[in-house]
């Protein structure tokens, strides 16, 4: 836990629901509009200079949570505070001034760069729009950013189509860093890359994070990468965070049965240790009709009657380690 560091981001009871379309019959019957609860009552803190991993299966709300924090979506309820300022419902000019403070590195380096803009223009555009440096300083700043990302000024006039996936991801990183953001969301930044290139980008991200003291929310479904690069981990299931804690503790002593399943399910790199039993049966239910009580109970091997009816609260089970479970695996 990094409580000695200043608090950067505070998320409290954040919800993002998407109303579902109704048929005319349902409208006439005045049925209640069904909600897809993509993010439902998520609370956590992020400290300055920290790398927080966000893990969970596809559709669990990882990306929606990140986008709501970045204010690409407006939250349905709850608050997001950045450096103490409530940003949950900012609009217009105030929201525009907020943007440079929060940046994103995307998963797919092929679709997140404009194919008709040179590398130089891609990065310089950010500097111009947000006026972070005066016009004559732009070339020097672009060069500095490219160097930081392991590229050189030689490639500045080339276009994204001429680069490999790893190089494009480096351009994406240079762009995200261009405005000196306080906070970066990296949404699956290495999952589209090959293993040998993946390692290069992971090393770059870890190095930049250390050197620039970046605060990162690192979204990934690859637990090996998360274990390697993050300080703390947050596990999401069906829109809610079920466990948060220091990375080593989460992996060594997971408290939530779902976390245990996730950490066990990744195929082990050991042919002499083949997993013989099913780690877990079934698949996550739809986020529109979530089960009552603990949302994980239909798949949980330790499920009791309490789990079927009562929603477990997120509570601290050891310093800095929070878990939402009626019967945590460690007490």
């Amino acid at each position: 836990m990094r409580e000695d560091r200043p608090l950067l981001l505070e998320v409290e009871h954040l919800c993002k629901w998407f109303p579902q379309k109704q048929s005319i019959v349902e409208m006439l019957q005045k049925k209640e509009i069904r909600q897809l609860k993509a993010v439902n009552d998520v609370s956590f803190q992020l400290y300055k200079g920290e790398n927080l991993g966000l893990v969970g299966e596809s559709g669990c709300g990882k990306s929606t949570l990140a986008r709501t924090i970045l204010r690409l979506y407006e939250p349905t309820s709850g608050t997001v505070r950045l450096n103490g300022q409530d940003i949950s419902h900012l609009r217009g000019e105030a929201l525009r001034r907020l943007r440079p403070q929060m940046q994103m590195i995307f998963q797919d380096p092929y679709s997140s760069l404009n194919p008709r803009m040179s590398v130089y223009d891609t990065i310089a555009e950010m500097l111009k729009v947000h006026k972070v440096v005066s016009d004559h300083e732009i070339p020097a700043r672009v060069e500095q950013l490219l160097m930081m990302s392991g590229l050189s000024m030689d490639i500045a006039q080339r276009f994204p189509g001429e680069f490999s996936g790893g190089q494009r991801q480096r351009i994406g990183i240079a762009r995200a860093l261009s405005l000196n953001p306080a906070f970066i969301v990296a949404d699956e930044p290495v999952s589209a890359l090959d293993v040998s290139i993946q390692a290069q980008i992971i090393n770059l991200l870890a190095q930049l994070q250390r050197e620039l003291d970046l605060t990162v929310l690192f979204i990934s479904h690859d637990l090996r990468v998360v274990r390697h690069i993050t300080h703390r981990v947050m596990v999401m299931y069906l829109g809610s965070n079920v466990e948060v804690g220091p990375t080593e503790e989460i992996f060594a002593r997971p408290a939530h049965p779902y976390t245990q399943v996730l950490t066990k399910a990744a195929p082990k790199l050991d042919p002499l240790n083949r997993q013989r039993d099913y780690a877990i049966e079934g698949e996550p239910p739809s986020p529109i009709n979530t089960p009552p009580g603990c949302k994980f109970h239909p798949r949980c091997p330790f499920c009791t009657d309490t789990c079927r009816t009562q929603v477990p609260e997120l509570r601290e089970i050891s310093p800095g380690h929070l878990c939402a479970c009626h019967k945590p695996l460690i007490v």
Partner: protein, 342 residues
């Protein structure tokens, strides 16, 4: 064990207007009855093209330009489309990475399953019974009702199960699985890997598994070939590969993987990126990225050579690679085998 498939010096090329891409460049391997053989490598290394050529499914303008593909002593590479049709599905079957794009969205699962045993003379009841049996076999709950559903009504994991059921419909001897778990979540990936392992045992079929994930290889394969730039650079049994890798590329791949011990330290990334298959370097294709490369590596292509029985590498410097330490201890093997015997 009976040899089911033998690929000898297979070459696949994609001729273009200005240049020819040599996607597969002299690949040889054998697959025995009842084993899982893994092909692992990064995107563009030729693993999927090798797989596609086994069923004559190369996309135009790709073509087999040399070598033999002997399936039970018949050369698939020389077969006509008509002859190939007798092999596809019945002898050799294929499952793809993305089950949504390989299932027909406008046909019910029932119809797509029936197509698998179209050639057989079955009554209506027999077909239905067989279809239900297949869905049960792959672990789809309430198969009687799911038979009449469409692919979009299935979840990702269930679609992949349905794909496998269809592939198994005509009881093939050899199943080709191209990244069968890549598009799935870890928990579902785990279920599908176990399903394939269990089916292989029950039905006694062979599997060729193409993947980029060494974890999947470790969990499923008996023998493995590591591919780089259209060639097999290392081939051996899975335990040997993980305990004593002998090719610098295999070793580099293992070093690039984050693990519980690497937290906080830098990963040993392989520098650079894979070569352009239309302009391969003159010597060893891996030489430009290899830490141990010498003059001969940049000048001459290494031939495949055996470094110990059943362990092949394409490298000029087996004496250097002898010192490589794998991800697991080789001594574990004997200890655990003794446990198994006891």
């Amino acid at each position: 064990m009976e040899k089911l498939l033998e690929v000898k010096d297979l070459r696949v090329a994609f001729p273009g207007k200005w240049e020819t891409v040599r996607a597969v460049d002299g690949v040889s391997f054998q697959v025995f009855q009842g084993e899982t053989f893994g092909l692992v490598g990064e995107s563009g290394c030729g693993k999927s093209q090798t797989m596609r050529s086994l069923l004559g499914l190369l996309k135009s303008p790709g073509q087999v330009t040399g070598g033999q593909i002997l399936y039970r002593n018949q050369d698939i590479a020389k077969m006509s489309q008509k002859e190939l049709r007798k092999i596809r599905g019945r002898e050799i079957s294929l499952i793809f990475q993305e089950p949504m794009t390989s299932l027909n969205p406008v046909l019910r699962i029932r119809k797509q399953l029936y197509e698998a045993f179209e050639g057989e003379d079955l009554t209506k009841e027999e077909r239905e019974r067989r279809a239900i049996e297949l869905l049960k076999l792959v672990g789809i709950p309430s198969p009687e009702t799911r038979l009449d559903e469409y692919p979009h009504q299935f979840s990702g994991g269930m679609r992949q199960r349905a794909m496998i059921a269809i592939a198994l419909g005509a009881r093939p001897r050899l199943l080709l699985a191209d990244e069968p778990t890549t598009a799935l979540d870890v928990t579902i990936q785990d279920q599908i890997m176990k399903l394939l392992n269990q089916l292989k045992q029950e039905l006694g079929m062979s599997i060729i598994l193409v993947t980029h994930d060494l974890g999947v290889i470790a969990q499923m394969c008996d023998r493995v070939a590591v591919m780089y730039a259209g060639q097999i650079v290392e081939m051996t049994d899975t335990v040997t590969l993980f305990s004593r890798p002998r090719h610098p590329y295999t070793y580099g791949l293992m070093g690039s993987l984050p693990s519980e011990d690497t937290a906080g330290s830098a990963l040993e990334a392989i520098g650079g990126s894979p070569p352009n298959l239309a302009h391969l370097p003159e010597g060893c294709p891996f030489a430009p990225r290899c830490k141990y490369a010498t003059d001969i590596c940049r000048r001459e292509r290494p031939e495949a050579a055996q470094v110990e029985p059943g362990h092949w590498i394409r490298c000029h410097h087996p004496e250097i690679t002898q010192t490589f330490q794998g991800l697991i201890q080789a001594s574990d093997r004997t200890a655990r085998e003794e446990d198994d015997h006891a």
